[in-house]
């Protein structure tokens, strides 16, 4: 029997991960060619219907505006936050890390709901206090605008983007900045001319990745519902048909259009990767970058953090607390306080045991799958020198552009097709595989950026010293990638715990998860219990994140001691 070389395990892992991505992408493309959900009769009818829609150009423009607007807001916060955590002596690092993790656990619809209550033009609290609603004339604020949608989506994407950037910032070679300092270059110029260019692959990856995510997000679009369509609404309507079969054709065609919108940016990124060695700064003679002393800028940094926390965590958590103590959703008022009680917390707690256990299993399984495939893919993409590697990476990059509901359907179809040989259909395993695939792009973006900064000379030195390629992989590559792996795992775990669409579509066995429990309670009008469960979930996830950081020892510089 031929013994597999350890290296072939890495290629095998990458291949399995890539296969899952292809299942998701092919599901979208094949779906776009179907009519009446018949997979044996392919047609371009859906494209004809989509492209002949007179409203399509406006829909595309709004979708592009949503993507770019959200990214601008995200980067405006995420870049400074990542820098504060990774490279400075900022005083509130643990607090910032905790709040970023907490934000990941807050359901998107709660954030949107909080803003609707505050800034809706008819009865928003802020408008009411100002006496300017559209009952009295012109409202002072109108949350139902695309610019508000960009702001809210942008704020929500900050933690993921920051966690993606931290590993890249931590791997910077400090000698470059030190040389600039010795040469008398001011700090901000060093940041602009040295740090930012070296971070370019990481920042570009974040921007492209979150552009794709922002145009596919549904929670905020559903609740804010600004005038006019965006592509994700077209997809939702096509799949949420009144009766009969979902219109996979139209949803798939709209999904392919999302690919097209993302493709330009991704192609640019692939070209960037070809010059990867230019950005490799973590070599054998690397100097620890050390911490930048913020001095008088400590206050400005704190103000920026407070601004984001208020907008992004404070308002939604206060909203959740309020919703959890009142019997039905209502704006805060003195009269409403009379009916406040802790019933929601008691009721929510009584449901938690089984869903929490199942959610923990799904989190663990998804993290394991996503990280295994992502580590293998990252190694292949950044180390194998194969000409097809960048294109494989681009394929992975496209995966988040596939609407979650389409990914779910594609995996269900795959589960049904291979059931005879591999009975995964209807199990949590298939849900984990689908979740892992959707999160693969996040993991590879985070890890690629870090891997590109690790100069191959380190691994070459190990081979010269007689280490096998496998030992080099496990003994050199993986330890250097530890921060990136940690933050990828953190993000995957949080998103897996919160994800609703995949479990809702794929879970036929009735295995309850916390996200589905929240959805069920909310749909039933039991908003107090739903909010209480969401708060429990936030507490559990934040504790998990803090524990994981402590146990793994992957703290930000300046905190290890």
């Amino acid at each position: 029997m031929t013994r597999l070389s350890p290296l072939s395990l890495i290629y095998g892992g990458a291949l399995v991960g890539l296969t899952f991505v292809i299942v998701s992408l092919a599901g979208n493309v094949i779906g776009s060619l179907t009519s009446e959900a018949r997979f044996d009769d392919l047609t371009l009818d859906a494209y004809r219907r989509l492209l002949s829609d007179p409203g399509l150009p406006a829909t595309l423009m709004r979708t592009l505006a949503l993507g770019f607007g959200s990214i601008c807001v995200t980067l405006a916060f995420a870049l400074p936050f990542a820098w504060l955590l990774a490279r400075t002596d900022f005083s509130w690092k643990t607090g910032l890390f905790t709040l970023l993790a907490a934000k990941l656990a807050i359901p998107g619809f709660i954030t949107a709901m909080a803003y609707v209550w505050l800034f809706n033009p008819s009865a928003g609290l802020v408008n009411a206090v100002l006496g300017q609603t559209n009952y009295t004339g012109e409202a002072a604020f109108d949350v139902y605008q695309i610019k508000w949608l960009c702001l809210l989506q942008g704020l929500v994407l900050v933690p993921g983007a920051a966690f993606m950037l931290i590993p890249a910032l931590r791997n910077l070679d400090g000698s470059l900045e030190e040389a600039a300092r010795v040469a008398g270059v001011p700090g901000w110029k060093t940041f602009r001319h040295i740090v930012l260019p070296l971070l370019a692959p990481g920042v570009l990856a974040v921007a492209v990745f979150y552009f794709v995510v922002a145009v596919e997000m549904f929670d905020f679009v559903a609740i804010i519902a600004p005038p006019g369509d965006v592509l994700v609404l077209t997809i939702y309507e096509a799949l949420n048909t009144v009766d009969g079969l979902p219109d996979y054709g139209l949803a798939g065609a709209a999904g392919v259009l999302l690919f097209a919108l993302s493709a330009g940016a991704i192609l640019f990124y692939v070209r960037f990767l070809r010059q990867a060695r230019k950005y490799a700064v973590l070599g054998g003679k690397r100097r620890d970058p050390g911490l930048v002393r913020l001095g008088k800028w400590q206050r400005a940094a704190t103000a920026l953090v407070v601004l984001w926390v208020t907008l992004s965590v404070g308002l939604p958590v206060i909203t959740l607390l309020w919703v959890a103590v009142v019997p039905f959703i209502q704006p805060p008022s003195l009269a409403a306080f009379d009916n406040a009680s802790l019933y929601g917390f008691l009721d929510g707690f009584s449901y938690l045991k089984e869903p929490l256990t199942n959610t923990a299993i799904v989190m663990a399984g998804t993290i394991t799958m996503a990280l295994t495939f992502a580590i293998c893919l990252t190694w292949v993409v950044t180390r194998s020198r194969s000409t097809i590697a960048p294109w494989a990476d681009a394929l992975v990059f496209l995966a988040p552009a596939v609407p979650a509901i389409v990914t779910a359907t594609a995996f269900q179809v795959m589960g049904i097709a291979v059931y005879q040989w591999l009975p995964l259909y209807g199990t949590l395993w298939l849900i984990m595989a689908a979740m892992g695939t959707r999160m693969l792009a996040y993991c590879t973006r985070t890890m690629n950026a870090a891997a590109l900064q690790i100069h191959p000379e380190l691994e070459e030195a190990a081979w010269v010293a007689g280490l096998s390629r496998w030992r080099t992989f496990t003994g050199v590559f993986l330890p250097l990638m530890a921060p990136a792996i940690f933050y990828a795992a953190l993000m995957v775990g949080m998103l897996a715990a919160r994800d609703l669409t995949l479990p809702l579509i794929m879970n036929s066995a009735g295995t309850p998860l916390v996200s589905v429990l929240i959805f069920d309670l909310q749909t039933n009008g039991e908003t107090a219990s739903a909010a209480a469960v969401a708060l429990y979930m936030i507490v559990v996830l934040v504790l998990l994140a803090l524990t994981a950081r402590k146990l793994t020892g992957v703290a930000e510089p300046g905190l290890e001691k």
């Binding site: 679009v221 019997p327 509901i405 259909y425 036929s508 066995a509 039991e526």
Partner: protein, 338 residues
Amino acid sequence: MKRLVIAVAVLLACPAWAQPANLSDAVRALIPLAEEEGALHVYGATLNPRQVRAFADSFNDYYGIDIDFTMSGGLHSAKASEVAMAHRAGVPTGIDVFWTGLISAMVETGALMDVDWAGTYGANESLTMGRWGLRTHDGHQSLVTVNTNRVSASDAPNSYKDLLDPKWRGRIVMPRSPYPWITMSYAMGEEETIALVSNLVSDQEPKMLARYADIRARVLSGEFPVAVGTDIFSLRNRGAPVTHPDMDLLVLASSGAFVLAGAEHPAAAKLWGLWAVSPEGQATLEETRSYSLAETPDTALNAYAAGRRVVHVPFEWRLQHHDRLAKTFLEILNRAGS
């Protein structure tokens, strides 16, 4: 002595002797089969664990059995499509009963089991849905809701045409879905409904939302004084400031229990359908979700329907006209904001 007391207590508490006396022989014959099957999974409504337990207890008590009962819910059209695919491939779905009003995807692939609910099991003929389903409750997708803090009883709309009053401009929240209007077409006539929806969209600037739970939240909070397409029976019981105004028309489209052709627990599935239409089942549906048949006495829907023009949209009519009307109304709804 202690053992005797416990035995008597168990016998008294044991529901096996509490079976209703009026069960037909055919139904009684299903009971041991269902016990042997031992489990049942119903896909349909989104219920919380306490409500699922209430369903399980009432169902098991009714027949004096102890079956492992589970439920799940979600997007019905996507799940129906998946069930159809799985059935075609001969793959078990884990679902025994599809509890829904939307079945055409499964009809086309033969994924539903033919069940002679009336002939074999003695169910009321008026409750059958085609040759597959048993009508368990009446849906009311076009109900109008008002926030009582914002709208007085005298100001509230009394007909769908009242929604076109300029005073409601920018004050109505409704679903982006064509569903409410499809069933309205049967009751009001196609042309009249198309005119109504077109005028609503063009003149009244309604806020259109993708999810029903969001519509309910907006009318509850008072942001929008009027909502179309959602019911608030259970919220009103909790003191929420919302009500269904005194409209001249109530349009009902039924949902039912459909046993899947590949059900692993077919006997339990049939028993579940029959339980759901029994007085005990109806009481449980009403208590947990305010679901009921309009004709079931002492339910919120029954009370609202009293003295009102009630139109039941026939199941066959829905199967025949849904797709066409869905396209028509989606086109109209999509004009908003474009």
